[in-house]
Amino acid sequence: MSNRVGIEVSIAVAEAVGLCDVDVVAAYPITPQTHIVEHLADLVAEGKLNAEYIAVESEHSAISAVMGASATGGRAFTATASQGLALMHEILFAVSSLRLPVVMAVANRAVSAPINIWADLSDVMPQRDTGWVQLFAENGQEAYDLMVQAFRLAEDHRVLLPVMVNLDGFTLSHMIEPITMMERNEVRRFLPPIEPARLLDPDHPRSIGPFGAQDVYTEAKMQQEMALLRSQEVMEEIWQDFEAQFGRRYHAVESYRTGDAEVVLVTMGAVSETARAAVDEMRAQGIAVGLVRIRMWRPLPQEELRQALEGAKVVAVLDRMLTPGGTGGPVGEALRSIFYDAPVRPRIYEVVAGLGGREINRRTFKEIVRQALAGQEQVRQFTFLDVRCA
């Protein structure tokens, strides 16, 4: 029985978290994430969700509280954006290193200054190396589904790592769109009750988070890295189960019309739908263009990306974050690294655009493809596409 409704994506995300029977939500409101945690607070207040909602005084406390809740065996959720995510930075490392299966939604937004509340990825990309699994949603249905999948991935004993689900601020988080909602019993069938691998329990004392000197630190990092790499195959398994139960199929990397494509766009997040529309229009004009979207950013599905892009002459990357003083953006850097040793290397045409919510539309992608095919020269390996210079 389909339950398809028109709903704001933030509200749907909160509903999904509610269906997961979370035990603890701790959050601090920040635009554009606020609607997610406001709705969770409503669910708790109205008795629809039997969880502890902790209204904390900062994001640093929010992530610390869910880390503690997770260590005691609870299913814990938080959400944030922009400066809030930056304030969490320190604790993000601890959550992943202590192998605590926290799930967090991030409504991606630019970081100050100037103060800017609109979408780009400059909040999440600096968190790239905190050891979290990082997933990027393209639309409301995916954001909704990923929440449920995220808990199952995080809590899998082969993984035991926190998972960050990213959705673009406003252009995704605040959209009203059709989403097929799940039933509580369906979600319970897909996501079993949490079985903590170990927990803080006075009856069975243990130390979580002790000192680790030079004689164990490297080994602890290796163990964490192996779990993070393993999470990709566990995610594939979860996506197969999800398809079997709900009929929707997900992959770490999605390809669209890349078969004979001369130039392939690479995108993340909600702009990918616009990119797909642009690809269709360019195809209608006879341009051999395709699209590859990265859904799983950490762990980076290197082999899938290499296979998806190896046939292209030019790979045109859109990075929605500038790496100041560097070689462009994080996605472009990753792709160059993947292809450096490949026998056949596509040219990588990297573009930084869409900062602070600057409009990304079909014209943007057509311009990227035009420049890429024209072999336009790049200084410092990237083009700052949409900056006004005259």
Partner: protein, 303 residues
């Protein structure tokens, strides 16, 4: 280049000794490096410090694996750690040992040169406390040269101010009283060992790392509650132990509350009892006791 490793206990000044010697060598126009074994500071715990001295610039930022010389500030360390670990064959051991303890040298005599001095006694007689770092430097200069007693004056004055005179006296006396025992026969050039690494890189990793990565608890947890009890911080004790005068003790428990290692405990009948396994000899209990019932006194090894 000469590489020297110092063994002491936290608070005895091994790091300072290395530092003073490096400053002197630099004043002499040489190149030198002094550095501790970077880690948590633990008063009384066995610690190491390192010193390199060379006529040429030193381009190394690594620990000293195979020292030419080892300096031991505290005689009780010989039973706790292998002070000769990695010491080059024929290298120099500079030891603080009382005349009565010299039997301990037997195991080193046929492999290494040994310079020995009763630095603890000299320190007590000159400075007034058994802190041996400045005395042992006198022995090191006697055994290895490196710098002169004269050059040591500047760094010691800067470091100790009005206490420099006493420390310089300790340095001077230790220099005079140090006995360098007959060296083993120097290997002939033909027998000179080929320079080789003391172990393979894989073996080095096994020494550096406690466990194989997949044997660690998830998240580096410690799953045995109370495992700290197995960590006998009493091994670190070097500066005496508390003695309780039961006639003065009112069982107020101040010592129990202030003791950083719970080494002062109540017995079943409410009296205070001292636990030698964990007492580091810090003396906080004696300082805090409102009745002056606790005094710090030297202990003998039999206790």
């Amino acid at each position: 280049m000469m590489e020297i490793r110092f063994h002491g206990r936290g608070g005895q000044g091994a790091v300072t000794a290395a530092e003073l010697m490096a400053q002197a060598a630099i004043l002499d126009g040489k190149y030198a490096q002094a550095f501790p074994n970077f880690g948590p500071e633990r008063r009384g715990a066995p610690v190491t410090a390192f010193l390199r001295v060379s006529d040429q610039p030193i381009y190394l930022r690594e620990k000293i694996e195979s020292p030419d010389t080892v300096v031991v500030l505290d005689p009780t360390l010989i039973d706790l750690v292998n002070v000769a670990d990695g010491l080059k064959p024929g290298g120099m051991l500079v030891m603080n040992l009382a005349a009565s303890g010299r039997g301990a040298l037997a195991k080193y005599g046929d492999q290494f040169q040994v310079a020995v001095v009763d630095a603890s006694r000299i320190a007590v007689e000159t400075i007034g406390i058994p802190v041996t770092n400045t005395a042992i430097l006198g022995s090191l200069i006697k055994a290895c040269g490196i710098t002169s007693l004269k050059t040591m004056e500047g760094p010691m004055e800067r470091r100790f101010g009005r206490l420099a005179a006493k420390n310089l006296l300790a340095l001077q006396r230790a220099f005079e009283e140090t006995e360098v025992l007959a060296a083993p026969a120097a290997p002939s050039p033909a027998d000179a060992p080929v320079v080789q690494e003391p172990c393979t890189y894989a073996e080095l990793l096994q020494r550096e790392a406690l466990l194989v990565w997949d044997q660690l608890q998830i998240g580096c947890d410690i799953d045995r509650p109370g495992s700290t009890a197995a960590f006998h911080t009493g091994n670190w004790r070097s500066a005496g132990r508390p003695f309780i005068d039961r006639d003065k003790c009112i069982s107020c428990g101040f010592c129990h509350v202030y003791c950083p290692d719970l080494a002062m405990n109540f017995t079943d009948d409410g009296a205070i009892e001292w636990d030698h396994r964990y007492c580091k000899g810090c003396g906080i209990c004696a300082e805090e006791c409102p009745k002056g019932a606790i005094s710090m006194r030297e202990e003998s090894h039999e206790q």
